[in-house]
């Protein structure tokens, strides 16, 4: 039976959240059958923890050039691993690494590709899975079926439930030789600037308050930040706000930004372009505050307030403080 191969990342001995989401999604691929689940691990680090999540084989390529992400080196290693594992499906996280690699990997393997997968369902016979993904910025939903194998898949972050550890777990590690030369890395990372994260990470926050064009300028985010502090949430933004330079790109929620699935999402001054809505479909309660009663955001919101956010947010902040005794 053909294998399922997921590119896993190990942080301090534990599989990353996105890796566990891949392993969670992988379980849906076999249509009830149990295809052997394999993980590709690049670089150093103890991958033993993966066995507890149902991984039977870890394919590891280790080389000093794989310590940090570099596309040319990662691609060579993944092609070697795919040759060894002969997977039917290759799963990558829909993050800055997986999105960077997926299409190039598919090209090199002669594989099909489906990106941004949000659901996996077996077909009638249970043999070939169907992949659901958003299309047209979330205005439509597409079901894609593979016509050839292997297929490279990227899973939309925060969409699949992470795999749960079960028992001690046993597996084997297969080492794959890659023989990388420094000259093969054709682009080089020279600097990484992490944005100072104050408080909760946007992707992990149970409450997210986002601002858009309707805030009228960067100063509008002060009120949002205050509300976020009271609700112990994180602040996000629409593309309009990040493109205007009001807040950093890392705060963008939406199709090209981050996918969030908080319990509470408050959209302030956000019109609700499909590009933005695509990033919040997993939110359980959506509140929209907007001056324009016709704004499309009210179509996806559960609770709506039409008005000037500068008038509405101060009493909201005060009442939340009161309610939470904060």
């Amino acid at each position: 039976m053909a294998a399922i191969l997921a590119l896993a990342r190990i942080d301090n001995g534990a599989p990353s959240r996105s890796s566990l989401e891949l392993l969670g999604g992988a379980r849906r691929l076999g249509g009830g059958r149990t295809d052997p689940l394999c993980a590709a691990v690049l670089g150093p680090g103890d991958a033993g923890a993966l066995y507890r999540y149902g991984v039977a084989t870890v394919y590891r390529a280790d080389d000093p050039l794989l310590k940090d992400y570099q596309a040319d080196c990662y691609l060579q290693a993944l092609v070697r691993i795919a040759e060894a594992a002969k997977p039917r499906f290759l799963l990558l996280a829909g993050d800055s690494v997986g999105r960077d690699l997926a299409a190039r990997l598919a090209f090199r393997l002669g594989a099909g590709i489906v990106t941004d997968v949000i659901d996996i369902t077996p077909d009638g016979s249970g043999a070939v899975p169907r992949f659901t993904r958003p299309a047209y910025g979330g205005k439509a939903t597409a079901v894609i079926v593979p016509r050839t194998f292997p297929v490279v898949l990227t899973l939309k972050p925060r969409t699949f439930d992470p795999a749960q550890a079960a028992g001690a777990g046993q597996g084997q590690e297969v080492r794959v030789e890659v023989a990388l030369e420094p000259g093969q890395a054709r682009v080089r990372l020279v600097e990484r600037a992490q944005e100072q994260s104050t408080g909760v990470k946007l992707e992990d926050a149970r409450t997210v308050i986002s601002g858009g064009r309707g805030l009228g300028g960067p100063e509008g985010f002060t009120l949002l930040t205050e509300l976020a502090r009271v609700l112990k949430g994180a602040v996000g933004a629409s593309r309009a706000a990040t493109d205007a330079g009001w807040v950093p790109s890392s705060m963008q929620v939406g199709q090209t930004g981050k996918t969030v699935s908080p319990d509470l999402y408050i959209a302030v001054g956000i019109s609700g372009a499909t590009q933005h809505v695509a990033g919040i479909t997993g939110a359980k309660t959506i509140v929209a505050i907007n001056a324009d009663p016709e704004a499309p955001i009210f179509k996806v919101a559960h609770l709506g307030i039409v008005g000037d956010y500068k008038m509405i947010l101060p009493p909201v902040i005060a009442k939340c403080r009161e309610a939470l005794g904060a």
């Binding site: 960077d100 598919a106 090209f107 590709i113 439509a140 079901v143 016509r147 050839t148 199709q255």
Partner: protein, 265 residues
């Protein structure tokens, strides 16, 4: 420096969802005479290219795969400041997948000459597969950096700013390079001037068929599809929004009460 930018013409993605209709046979959006635009990130890519052109005294070419109407996307590119344009148009390529489009664009770029940089939007405004740019890079044998917002010359190398989850990364590489471009305050597309629009309308734009590029139908047509769209449906869109009315204080009180009921506060 010679820079090629791939442009895709799409139905205006900003149209409201109420005007969005699906062609059930072709499993794509019904054109319905809606305005056609250059896919948003592709315009950001062109803006980055034009800045790099100014910095390096370079030349910019724009290419598109599409129907005859896509020539207007190329003319917009010319009006914004591109120097040359070429349209790749062939019934064989209609509905081609990302691999077919990527191969066709790469062949078109090769036909135009040798390039130092190939830029694409990071995703299209319709299907957003994020595949064509990297595939063009692979066909050309170029390294590829995705989600780049700014490009500048740094000695004989290019210095790239790339957006990742928790911040930005600076990458460097020597040409040739392929990049996919993300929107940013630094690459807001310029508005073409009226006189440039007029001049662009008179520039020749060659149209190439698949055969002109040496492409075989089994390489790029339906037979080459590795995946297939089986269904395209509209998500259910019942408005379920409860509007909270009154003055700001009443609205705030109602909101807090509802959030408590929903146990999210």
């Amino acid at each position: 420096m010679r820079i090629a930018v791939c442009l895709k013409q799409i139905i205006d993605p900003e149209l409201p969802a109420s005007q969005f209709k699906i062609d059930p046979a072709l499993k794509r959006q019904q054109p319905d005479g809606h305005p056609l635009v250059v896919s948003p990130y592709d315009e950001n890519a062109l803006e980055v290219a034009l800045k790099l052109k100014a910095e390096t005294n370079g030349r910019v070419a724009v290419l598109s795969v599409g129907e005859a109407a896509a020539v207007s996307a190329l003319r917009k590119g010319l009006a914004m400041g591109a120097d040359e344009a070429a349209l790749i148009s062939d019934p064989v390529l209609e509905g081609a997948d990302a691999f077919g489009i990527g191969i066709a664009l790469a062949r078109g770029i090769q036909k135009l000459g040798a390039f130092d940089c190939v830029l694409c939007g990071c995703e299209s405004g319709d299907w957003a597969d994020r595949t064509v740019g990297p595939i063009v890079a692979e066909v050309l044998g170029f390294p590829c950096v995705s989600f780049v917002t700014q490009v500048g010359r740094h000695g004989d190398r290019l210095r790239l700013q790339r957006v990742v989850e928790d911040g930005i990364e600076i990458w460097e590489g020597s040409p040739p390079l392929a990049l996919t471009i993300l929107s940013h305050e630094s690459n807001v597309p310029r508005y073409p001037k009226v006189k440039d629009i007029m001049a662009a309308s008179r520039k020749p734009v060659p149209t190439w068929s698949a055969a002109d590029l040496g492409l075989e139908v089994q390489q790029v047509g339906r037979a080459a599809f590795r995946t297939e769209v089986q269904e395209l449906t509209l998500p259910s869109r019942e408005s379920r929004c409860e509007m909270l009315n009154g003055g700001p204080d009443e609205q705030a009180a109602a909101l807090v009460a509802r959030l408590r009921e929903r146990k999210v506060l």
